[in-house]
């Protein structure tokens, strides 16, 4: 017999697998995706403007009745509104509300959804109950819930965040639960049980990491939709109090003057659209990169 069986035994010393390349870092994979670069850069610029911008603009609530409804140009980059306030300053300041709402809603919705989804996916007795509650939550129309909550407890940033967050939670729970249900059957989870690993550690160590990628993607979509909902609430007059400039509020106030001075609505509208576009582009890029089928190449 002249062919030896292929050996898969590794001797010591040089006994490293043929495929011994280090795993490329997550970051280096992410920056290869054009959507992530474009969306990420755009979002970075928006965040930079939001953080630094307010220091360089006029006071967004400063009234100047003489300079009412001025065309964009000499008296202000984006013109002025019906009380003579600088639209540019208001749009820059308004971005804070949008970003804070978007970020807060996505962080809270994902954190709560993750915890509930993990437990309900793993502890089968709770599953039926939790999922029916989630079904109930999902049946509530988001904007109506927001209006109801705000009329009960007054319009504050917190109420708006909570109101937008609640209908988003079930979506996260469902996604996490689906991942957990498939991962819990994996032999490596069973091996951990057989090795005496306690349930909380199994969840954190073996199950949770599998949910991270889909969660990041979901978070970007939640963020974008929360910013839109916040603007809608503001536009309907059911959002952040009118004295605080938010994009929705600015547009609501500009609605009456839409025929004669469209810039009051146009600029916050563009700002909202660009921000949501940036977040969604980033989310698409992340989804393409983190999708399990493609991620296998990592």
């Amino acid at each position: 017999m002249d062919a030896k069986p292929q050996t898969d035994i590794l001797p010591s010393g040089d006994g490293v697998p043929a495929d011994a390349r280090q795993e490329p870092g997550l970051l280096s994979i992410l920056v290869l995706n054009p959507s992530i670069i474009i969306g990420g850069l755009l979002l970075a610029v928006i965040i930079a403007i939001t953080v630094i911008g307010p220091f360089f603009t006029l006071d967004p609530v400063l009234l100047n009745p003489i300079n009412r409804l001025k065309v964009p140009g000499a008296d202000g980059l984006f013109g002025t509104d019906y009380l003579g306030r600088d639209v540019f300053a208001r749009v820059i300041h308004g971005s804070r509300i949008s970003l804070v709402v978007g970020l807060a809603v996505s962080i809270f919705a994902v954190s709560i959804g993750l915890a509930v989804g993990l437990v309900s996916g793993y502890v089968r007795v709770l599953d039926a109950i939790v999922m029916r509650i989630m079904d109930g939550l999902m049946a509530i129309p988001g904007i109506l819930l927001a209006i109801a909550l705000i009329s009960l407890s007054g319009a504050t940033l917190l109420t708006v965040v909570v109101a937008i967050m609640i209908p988003e939670i079930p979506r996260v729970v469902r996604l996490v639960r689906a991942v957990v249900l498939s991962v819990r059957e994996e032999p490596y989870v069973e091996a951990a049980i057989a090795a005496g690993t306690r349930l909380p550690l199994i969840l954190v160590r073996h199950v949770l990491p599998n949910t991270i990628a889909p969660m990041i993607v979901q978070a970007t979509y939640i963020c974008a939709s929360a910013m839109l909902t916040e603007a809608i609430l503001g536009f309907l007059g059911a959002g952040i109090p009118p004295e605080i400039p938010s994009w929705g509020n600015i547009m609501a106030e500009g609605r009456t003057y839409f025929q004669i001075s469209p810039w009051i609505i146009f600029y916050p509208g563009v700002a909202l659209a660009v921000t949501v576009l940036a977040v969604n582009t980033l989310g698409d890029g992340l989804r393409d990169t983190l999708d399990p089928r493609i991620a296998r190449k990592m």
């Binding site: 292929q6 050996t7 898969d8 697998p17 495929d19 032999p187 005496g196 306690r198």
Partner: protein, 540 residues
């Protein structure tokens, strides 16, 4: 021009691998043909390029990464490599179909199996709903599925492996294609099911004149089914010819090695284990699964009934049986991954069957399990070292001590301790299985359960892992419960054999005795179903 009898003709096919792979071409200059009504077996170990060949024919490879750079693939005279994606989509299903090794992953887990077969008809034909439903039942009967009227409402996970593979075959045959590509369709199945599926494929090929390209690593299967054999190694065809010639007079050294690695069906002489301490005792073990919900009547499955077994230290008890015979259920009850319905599981005298999950935890270290699938048994995100130290650290060993033990065990299983810092994807299947064995041994168990632990491995690697298991059994004086569907493997490693059928133990005895004089008809059926039983293997 093509002769009328040829369904598939592959000529000089070369497929390139992406840059950075271990070789430039996945397959190189591969030529062979499949005639109408002919079964051609493509044999080789993993990485030989046999699946790449099949997937290239089906057009399932990403053409960017696995690019056919030379040659042609003629399906009934038409070159598939020049077809557009849309044309290929139409050809798949209608003219050529494929069945896969893992029917569980090849089927959509969230769709009822009846709907999955109907989907094929919906896409490719203009049948209406009633016609489709009738055709689905017809093809399901054609592949001998029991109670198709009920079965169409099942999800893949509710079926046995053999049933799932039949569903796959039913899907493939729904449109009566001329070419059937079977990619290791029986590898995950046990002997009697395998024999039935092989019979089914032969029968279909006879009745419908289908040309079959059958990919396998198992020379037993080749002996059973092939008209012609193509042997592949590292992307090249090293030998091809009529089945009888290749099996009886292999010319290439690699073919000879493969045929020589097939375990023999004749058990070797083994000294009986006497007077050893009893490590594991199972008495009247029952496990009943009940399905159903609030609004429908449930179905009860008695997965294990009145199972009795005893394993002494230093002894290997083989548990063989069909899919769904309850052999894995028994293992999972012993490891307490599932809760037994009734009975006793005694580990070193202590009954752990009725204990709560918290109370059973101290006993977990005494019983460890190695699973079948080396690719899913290790968490891909955690290093080998983290995987091995997890168990011992759960029981209070310090990280340093656990790591030292892990390094020592890596040597025991034939791997370099440096590899502890690597991730599972950097290892081959056989190496991963060694890691799983090391992980189990790290707990210093009294009982080691190998649940189909070598079934997913290539024959040459399988032989080495079997040797390792036998070696650690001796070295650590383990009681081993060896669960397998492969009677050849069981013959080589087990001191005693226990045969299970439908959750019942039908026969138990010394290996040699069971193989020489099977007492129960089911044991005889199992032995008769072993593929290639008439060919003497393992002599090389």
């Amino acid at each position: 021009m093509e002769t009328k009898g040829t369904v598939l003709d592959i000529k000089g096919l070369t497929v390139s691998l992406p840059k950075g792979a271990d070789r430039p071409f996945a397959i190189e200059g591969v030529s062979f043909s499949v005639g109408r009504g002919e079964i051609v077996c493509v044999v080789g170990e993993s990485g030989s390029g046999k699946s790449v060949t099949a997937h290239t024919v089906m057009g399932l490879n990403s053409r960017k990464e696995l690019k056919p750079v030379e040659g042609e693939i003629l399906l009934e005279g038409e070159n598939l490599l020049t077809k557009s994606e849309a044309e290929l989509r139409r050809l798949r299903g209608e003219r050529m179909a494929m069945i896969f090794q893992e029917p569980m992953t090849a089927l959509n887990p969230v769709m009822k199996v009846g709907d999955q077969i109907a989907e094929m008809l919906e896409i490719h034909t203009s049948m209406d709903g009633a016609q489709r439903a009738a055709r689905v039942l017809e093809v399901m009967r054609d592949v001998n599925l029991p109670e198709p009227e009920q079965l169409i409402h099942s999800y893949p996970h509710q079926l046995s492996g053999g049933q799932r593979q039949r569903i796959m075959i039913a899907m493939a045959l729904a449109l009566e294609p001329g070419l059937l590509i079977a990619d290791e369709p029986t590898t995950a199945l046990d002997v009697t099911t395998q024999a039935q599926i092989l019979d089914l494929i032969k029968d279909i090929q006879n009745r419908h004149g289908t040309g079959v390209m059958f990919i396998t690593h198992d020379f037993g299967v080749v002996a059973e089914i092939a008209d012609r054999v193509v042997v592949m190694q590292e992307g090249l065809v090293v030998e091809q010819g009529a089945a009888d010639d290749v099996l009886s007079k292999p010319e290439h050294a690699y073919t000879r090695m493969l045929i020589g690695s097939v375990p023999s069906l004749t058990p070797p002489e083994r000294a009986p284990v006497r007077d050893a301490e009893v490590a594991l005792e199972v008495h009247r073990l029952d496990k009943t699964y009940e399905s159903g919900g609030w609004f429908r009547t449930g179905r009860t499955v008695k997965a294990a009934q009145q199972v009795e077994l005893v394993v002494h230290r230093g002894e290997t008890l083989g548990v063989v049986g069909e899919s769904g015979s309850g052999k894995s259920t028994v293992a999972r009850c012993i490891v307490r991954l599932v809760d037994p319905t009734a009975g006793e599981v005694r580990i070193a005298g202590e009954n752990i069957a009725g204990l709560s999950h918290a109370a059973v935890r101290p006993y977990r270290r005494d019983v460890q399990i190695v699973f079948q699938d080396p690719y899913r048994s290790l968490n891909p995100r955690r290093t080998v070292g983290q995987a091995i130290v997890e168990g011992p650290m759960n029981f209070g060993l310090s990280h340093t001590d656990a790591l030292a033990r892990a390094a020592e065990l890596m040597r025991v299983v034939g791997l370099a301790p440096e590899a502890l810092e690597r991730f599972p994807h950097q290892f081959s299947g056989g190496q991963r299985q060694r890691i799983c064995i090391a992980r189990a041994l790290a707990m210093e168990p009294k009982v080691l359960i190998a649940d189909e632990a070598v079934s997913a491995l290539d024959v040459s690697v399988q032989a080495q892992v079997l040797e390792l298991l036998d070696d650690v059994r001796k070295r650590f004086d383990l009681a081993m419960l060896f669960i397998t569907h492969d009677l050849r493997v069981a013959a080589q490693i087990c001191d005693r054999i226990m045969v299970m059928e439908h959750g019942l133990v039908v026969e138990q005895g010394a290996t040699q005795q069971v193989y020489a004089e099977p007492a129960h008809p089911y044991t005889r059926a199992l032995l008769d179903a072993a593929p290639g039983r008439d060919v003497v293997f393992g002599a090389g």
